[in-house]
Symmetry: C2
Subunit: 254 residues, 2 copies
């Protein structure tokens, strides 16, 4: 790989992101690069306005909002977001529950948009959250549309349990994926966060490959089994509309 100082800098940046607020020695260990080099990177990134020393704790480094500003323009303006926002807005108004738009990122589902419920009791998932695929309805929905090799690969990796309800058994997860495929939507009952239930549906991009997913989520007291089908079908309809806009079923082109 060329331009290794750039590689080091980005690895430092990601390490800061993962360990905020992070100390110098800690980062040095994390990216396995001498402290002097890490410090030089931090200072350079600092001059560029991407990281800064924490005000609260001197010597600890944090990402700045500027990094967020630059990177946000990645997902906004993206094809999938533009295609999704209209239908998603309608889905939110229809169901009155919180809806999310998620795309895959290195084995996690990355939440790139959210439209809130008006209910007083609401779950809160900041944008940019990364959810394990097996522990979220968006993730299971995505897996149900992803190719087999990817799924097997994912299920072979270590699967963390986030709550007592999180399913981590690969065989059971395979069965759940099959159910999702048959039913058209995934259901996650408190597997991500206690007291939260959500329903997910995959989105297909051009060529019909899995591109992301959408979900409806809320407190388990409101998202009860009696509503699963209604919400699942509503989300599936919305997803179909988005997938169509993404050219999933287009015959011209390929």
């Amino acid at each position: 790989m060329s331009t290794q100082s750039v590689v080091t800098a980005i690895r430092v940046l990601e390490a800061v992101s993962d360990n905020q607020p992070a100390g110098l020695s800690e980062l040095s260990r994390e990216v396995d690069v001498p402290k002097a080099t890490v410090l030089r990177m931090l200072r350079t990134l600092g001059e560029l306005g991407w990281v800064a020393q924490s005000e609260a704790q001197a010597g600890k480094w944090v990402l700045t909002n500027h990094a967020f500003a630059v990177a946000s323009r990645g997902s906004s303006g993206s094809v999938i977001r533009d295609a999704a926002m209209g239908p998603l807005n309608a889905l939110q108004l229809d169901t009155t529950e919180t809806v999310h738009l998620a795309v895959p990122d290195r084995g996690y589902m990355l939440i790139i948009e959210r439209l809130d419920t008006p209910h007083v009791l609401r779950a809160f998932l900041p944008l940019g959250s990364r959810l394990p695929m097996h522990a979220s309805s968006t993730g299971m929905a995505y897996l149900s549309a992803a190719d087999e090799a990817f799924v097997d690969d994912y299920l072979a990796g270590p699967l963390e349990a986030l709550t007592p309800q999180t399913v981590v058994d690969p065989a059971r997860l395979q069965a759940m994926i099959a159910d999702t495929r048959a039913r058209g939507y995934s259901i996650n009952e408190q597997g991500l966060s206690t007291g939260i239930t959500s329903i997910g549906v995959p989105l297909l991009g051009s060529g019909g490959v899995a591109a992301g997913s959408i979900s409806i989520s809320g407190p388990s007291s409101r998202i009860v089994p009696a509503k699963y089908q209604e919400y699942g079908e509503a989300a599936a309809g919305t997803a179909l509309e988005i997938s169509r806009a993404l050219g999933a079923f287009s015959t011209k082109g390929y």
Copy 2:
């Protein structure tokens, strides 16, 4: 500045962000670096998963979601966001209008959080949007709490008009900032986007320095002058609560 290849790489990254989807020559001109170097940077950033060639247009580069995922953790987990979310949630429920949380970033206001209105007619501002300070209620609120030198400096720069209603005259803007200070909240009537009105209030961080702002916004048909005072005072109350949590009025420490 040291580690210049890193500087170049980041500048390329920011240029991609600003010009998406961006071509090689375009980027080369933008950052004033030879094409060969820009290309090397793009490839390195590509291997790291931060940029990729656009699927739609070969040879055009775009930011990936991974960049978003890494950088998102900058604002989430930040002191201001944590302090703001609770009170902001209450404010949204109270007013039923969309509320925003914004922080300054290089002369713009950066939207880092949003809580949606349940109304069918709703404005939509993606997170990560950067708004000119003089054209937004969040920006004017921030300016009303910023120190004089900063304000003068900002008003001296070129001020773009986003709509026919955008005020760009420095003298008038100074007067509006004074009004905001006296009143406790800023009002922006269609200066950012036609048909949208919003009310902003500054947030103070530790030591009482301007740290960001919050706003209530919606269609001008709903956010009418008769409601300005009610919303302004509600937002001011919320802002006070947040500023207090940020240690703006703390006597210990300084």
